[in-house]
Amino acid sequence: MNTTTVNDTAGHHDHDHDHAPAGLMRWLTSTNHKDIGTLYLWFSLFMFFFAGALAMLIRAELFQPGLQYVQPAVFNQLTTMHGLIMIFGAIMPSLVGFANWQVPLMIGAPDMAFPRLNNWSFWLLPAAGTLLIATFFVPGGAISGGWTMYPPLYMQGGIAYDISILAVHILGVSSIMGAINIIVTILNMRAPGMTLMKMPLFVWTWLITAFLLVAVMPVLACAITMLLTDRNFGTHFFDAAGGGDPVMFQHVFWFFGHPEVYIMILPAFGIVSTILPTFARKPLFGYVSMVYAVASIAFLSFIVWAHHMFTTGMPLGGQLFFMYTTMLIAIPTGIKVFNWVATLWRGSISFETPMLFSLAFVILFTIGGFSGLVLALVPVDIQLQDTYYVVAHFHYVLFSGSAMAIMAGVYYWLPKWTGHMYDEKLGKLHFWLTAIAFNITFFPMHFLGLAGMPRRIPDYALQFADFNAIASVGGLLLGASQLLFLYIVVKCARGGAPAGDQPWEGADTLEWTLSSPPPYHSFVTPPLVK
């Protein structure tokens, strides 16, 4: 780079005194990765409770056979919006919140590469969230054909369907800009000496996740743009009479949708891979193989999409191809699980709340991975397509996978972010309530699915009543337990025992070299990594 800038230094130090700007404008106009990370995390927590409330209504309705509280049309809106908002409003933004807080701290960067763009990525989310929530109140109600938005069902709804497409477009813009920001930050802003293979695994998982986002969010934009023009401008992309094909939507959608699944789990892998070594007081076992495993999973995610569509009448060759590629994913995932377990092997383990969540993650995510393998088998999948077995599977990977890893990460980094220790007793209580209630809710769904109960149905045959009652009790307990989580987070943010710079003795990433909470502008001068 050129060296004509020596005289510029005077202009640089006048605006970043180390205190945060005050008032509402601090949050509305922020260019600070920590503030924006906090915004992401609060936003996702709000959406988690909103979409969670929808899930409570679903479980209340399914507590017993027959129609109790909501009409079938409303029930369909609940399942659809629960999925859409949990994915795009809760899981993804919370992981981006972690990226915002942690990536610059872990690589020794002063901020994200594009701080203003970073703020835009965040503030687009409330815009899209407002549009999505507003659809409950428009004529005809919210979208109700499932979060996957399949035509021809999607052709038939009212204004909510157009609003939701535009909202997802806005979410896509936000994700693409956010992902570009993360990639550039990681590639360009690492402290001297921080080579790629010295990066904490969390940073690696986000680099690969951000690549997936840039690669597939535009493809989602294609899919929903075609929906929009089919609905409003008379195109026939998904209409056989005009030579189109509704199955084509599924292909385009799942080309986005399967990498999207890994977008939601890879950063969770990164969080768990950070926490397990800390509390096992051993370095992560097989770091290099972990990096390659994540990269392999990302690569494979592009060639497995049609396993979501085995019942659409695909040729045998297609079914076999997608079955085998799907089963291949078990190899890098198996490497990861093996490495996590090997990290624990002969470690001196302590069981603080983040560790409890991480250990539960390893066990429960693996169960979700196994049921995924079951679903990869074409003959089995054809039986289980759209049954509760699928619901059980993806809640094991998304709730006990992503969401519990997110909770682990929140407990792990809250002391750094706030400067206070969270309430360990309450944290452990929250963990046990969550882990037990989660399994009460979702484990019986495997049995329901194997017995043939279809998903997205407000009423069911009598033989499914017992397991549904159990699942509903578990679900309501699971939901109520999360209020405890909110209480613990708020309590920790407002005060508590001082955390000290390094509350976890086994942690060795760069953020622990800073004070807790870190200065408003950290690593303005990059640290030297050995």
Partner: protein, 277 residues
């Protein structure tokens, strides 16, 4: 690449523009949804959103340009912009890849499957172009070696003139820079005009089955990108006239040039897969 200079990385002060941009997109989307559902307020809300968006673009880019002129982007920041633009263009590549994927799917899988379903659509034969078995419209495709070939020539030439302008900039020849840019812009406008003419004289629309849908979606989004690229080139021309660019430091020019070449490559693929084949 060791990019850390004595300067700290430039972290801009708080900015109102991202929030303005979010309000703009929220208004624009609301207006569009209202418009699509035949609500009288729709166009006005949309226009308001577009206005706010323009306001944001002027404000935000104005901010960036003045920071650039103040020399704040001299070191590591420059590499960030380069990476950022590359990944943005990659996302655009994937956007077009999605629509090309749809085209390849219907041509190789969707339409042949409909022809196989003789019990559903008796007498329908797989052919391209087609408006599908239910519409019974005869499609007269565009003759590739007329306007499309001319447009190919125009865009390829515009790539040459743009590079020539870049050489002028690098050698400090201001007149070559301005002339090259002006020629590139003129060629861009010529392309858009010819494409517009082609749309007018065509006897099929995007309502005419899968051929019309894929044709207009692909060429339409491409044309939209050419318009955007031309606007960007015009901005670059004005900035050149204002003397913003130095022979060794002119990333805005390069970013727009990358974008222009990207649009050019998309057109070549369009020419082959939409017009010729």
């Amino acid at each position: 690449m060791q990019t850390h200079t004595n300067n700290a990385y430039y972290v801009p002060p708080p900015s109102i523009w991202p929030l303005v941009g979010s309000i703009a997109l929220l208004t624009l989307a609301t207006g569009f949804a209202l418009l699509l559902n035949k609500t009288a307020a729709g166009p006005y809300v949309m226009a308001l959103g577009a206005g706010i968006l323009l306001f944001m673009l002027f404000g935000w880019f104005g901010n960036v340009i003045s920071e650039s002129l103040a020399g704040k982007y001299a070191g590591q920041e420059d590499a960030s912009f380069r990476w950022g633009m590359m990944w943005f263009i990659f996302s655009e590549v994937m956007f077009f890849a999605g629509f090309f994927g749809a085209l390849f799917y219907v041509r190789n899988i969707g339409v042949p499957m409909l022809a196989d379903a003789q019990s559903l659509w008796p007498g329908f034969a797989a052919a391209w172009p087609t408006a599908g078995p239910g519409l019974k419209t005869e499609i007269m495709p565009v003759h590739a070696w007329g306007i499309p070939a001319l447009n190919t020539l125009i865009l390829l030439t515009s790539g040459v003139t743009l590079t020539w302008a870049h050489w002028g900039l690098q050698k400090g020849k201001q007149s070559q820079l301005k002339l090259g840019l002006a020629m590139t812009i003129a060629l861009g406008i010529l392309f858009i005009g010819l494409q517009w003419y082609e749309y007018v004289v065509l006897d099929f629309t995007l309502r005419d089955g899968i051929f019309g849908a894929t044709f207009f979606m692909l060429t339409g989004f491409h044309g939209f990108h050419v318009i955007l690229g031309t606007v960007m080139l015009i901005v670059i021309l004005f900035r050149s006239l204002a003397g913003h660019f130095k022979p060794e430091r002119h990333f805005a020019f390069e970013a727009v040039a990358w974008y222009w070449h990207f649009v050019d490559v998309v057109w070549l693929l369009l020419f082959v897969f939409v017009y010729i084949l």
